[in-house]
């Protein structure tokens, strides 16, 4: 079976990636990272960010609501302290970048252009920051503006991570495609509010982003629609915790998948998804991942 998946000219050894924010910077579990198709690092911003006050996580039936708020060391420390370690990982590395102004995305892209990474994932959809964040991802014009600006400054694989919060991701996906994105990640977490016993917001950041199996049917629906609306590859994300989930996303039209919440149940969560997916593919005698992509829409 041909194992590779090619997206935007970049060869991934298999279609399973660890999603941003759920696998640190990939350096913590190198052995697992090396066996995945790729990893998407925790979001990096231009300046250092402390993140949101605790509590930052709550469990809901079949899901998680998190409010980390992009805690990260900022671009300079990321390049100095983390990138050297990332170079030792032998898998595809996408750096998730988040900005609060168009100019910040530009400076992040420029700052990473000469580095030994495979691509950028533009985080236009983080629901856990009060400034910018998801607001960018809710406007097709803004998605297009940022993507176009970054495209001019990077030759690397350019992926745009989209939100489905109060927006039809087909529209923002088309905007990303028009601006030169190589792929879109569909979807980021959905807005969530958790209250404590006294009816007050439980999370330190007040609201958070819902992930996990609870959002899978909606994420799958979004992937199906976006895959039909754009020609660039779709990276499916949202509630994938088993090989069957990953199989569903490929059939809905995703070329790659990202595993997030499952990494919180054990660091090998994404690897387990890959192993299970390989068993399904083998049992069904399917030749190559590509042959199942989008089968949900074929007659």
């Amino acid at each position: 079976m041909k194992g590779e998946v090619v997206v935007g000219g970049v060869r991934f050894a298999n279609p399973v990636l660890a999603a941003s924010g759920t696998f640190g910077y990939g350096v913590e579990f190198k052995g697992i990272a090396n066996r995945l198709g790729g990893i998407v690092t925790k979001g990096v911003t231009l300046e250092e960010r402390a993140g949101n006050p605790p509590p930052r996580i709550a469990e809901v039936p079949s899901g998680i609501v998190n409010s980390v708020g992009l805690e990260n060391p900022g671009l300079i420390k990321f390049k100095r302290q983390i990138l050297p370690k990332l170079k030792k990982i032998k898998t595809r590395i996408l750096v998730n970048v988040a900005g609060f102004e168009v100019d910040e995305f530009i400076r992040l892209a420029e700052g990473l252009e000469e580095e030994n990474i495979d691509g950028l994932e533009l985080n236009l959809s983080c629901p856990n920051v009060s400034e910018g964040g998801a607001v960018f991802g809710q406007t097709p014009q803004k998605v297009e503006e940022i993507t176009r600006a970054v495209r001019k400054r990077t030759k690397k694989l350019l992926v745009v991570k989209l939100t489905a919060n109060f927006v039809d991701p087909r529209e923002t996906a088309k905007a990303a495609e028009a601006a030169g994105a190589d792929a879109v990640t569909v979807i980021n977490t959905l807005y969530g509010l958790i209250l404590d016993d006294n009816g007050r917001p439980f999370l330190g950041g007040r609201t958070g982003g819902i992930s996990g199996p609870a959002i899978k049917p909606f994420a799958l629906f979004c992937v199906d629609r976006v895959a039909a609306a754009v020609k660039i590859p779709v990276i499916g994300c949202g509630g994938i915790i088993s090989g069957r989930d990953a199989f569903d996303f490929l059939c809905a039209g995703a070329r790659l998948v990202q595993v997030g919440s499952a990494n919180l149940t054990a660091p090998n969560g994404a690897l387990r998804v890959l192993q299970e997916l390989k068993i399904i593919i083998s049992e069904k005698r399917i030749k190559g991942w590509e042959s199942i992509v989008g089968t949900a829409r074929r007659g």
Partner: protein
Amino acid sequence: MNFKVRVAEVSWLTQEVVSVWVEAPDVTGKTKPGQFFGVKVNKRGDLLLRRPLSVADVRGDFLRFIFKVVGKGTVELSRTKPGDGWDVLGPLGKPAPIFKGRDVVVCGGGVGAAPLLFLTRVLKEKNRVNVILGAKTASELILVNDFRRLKVKVILATDDGSAGEKGFVTQPAMRAIKTLLKPVVFACGPRSMLKFLMENVDQVPVWGFLEERMGCGVGICYCCAVERREGGYLRLCKDGPVVFLNEVRL
């Protein structure tokens, strides 16, 4: 990574607190006081996150976990029976510092006594350990005989005076701290208790066992943040759960 252990013994220490011994020969030798395990709650997947359970004791091939039943996850875990298999991840977290030749005050409030038992077993080999245990009432005091069997000095306090002296556990703790020369304090219990100790001791190092809502347990999700005094946050699962209290804001 995660692996299976067999539940060997289950007993209720109070109406809300459960003790579970599991057989885990491969990790008992590697497990140190202060560390914890992430325990998977069920196979159905409706409760995704592992529950972080501190190690209350280690004997031979067995690990002991003691936890209070507070929510859906711990209710489910409390229904476990001998022979059940638990999916665990660990040992996780940074071990507690182990001193030599010091006077140590170990202060446990309620179920906070649990991780202090293992710590006391290790510390008492090379230190003089004073254990002070407190609870609201006598029926909520746990592990008193387990501590006594370690042949360390045990002082009790209850809010209602039904066992030991009447009042908060911090009163005998502060008395002990003040009478000792260069003591070291380990405390586990409500944050208010930890805060009181930290604010009222002078020049005495206090190490606290903290709790925070936790995601991965291994430092990759940044969910279990605890505010540092000098700014930013530490990750409790990786930098703790035993923390030098002067470094954090409670």
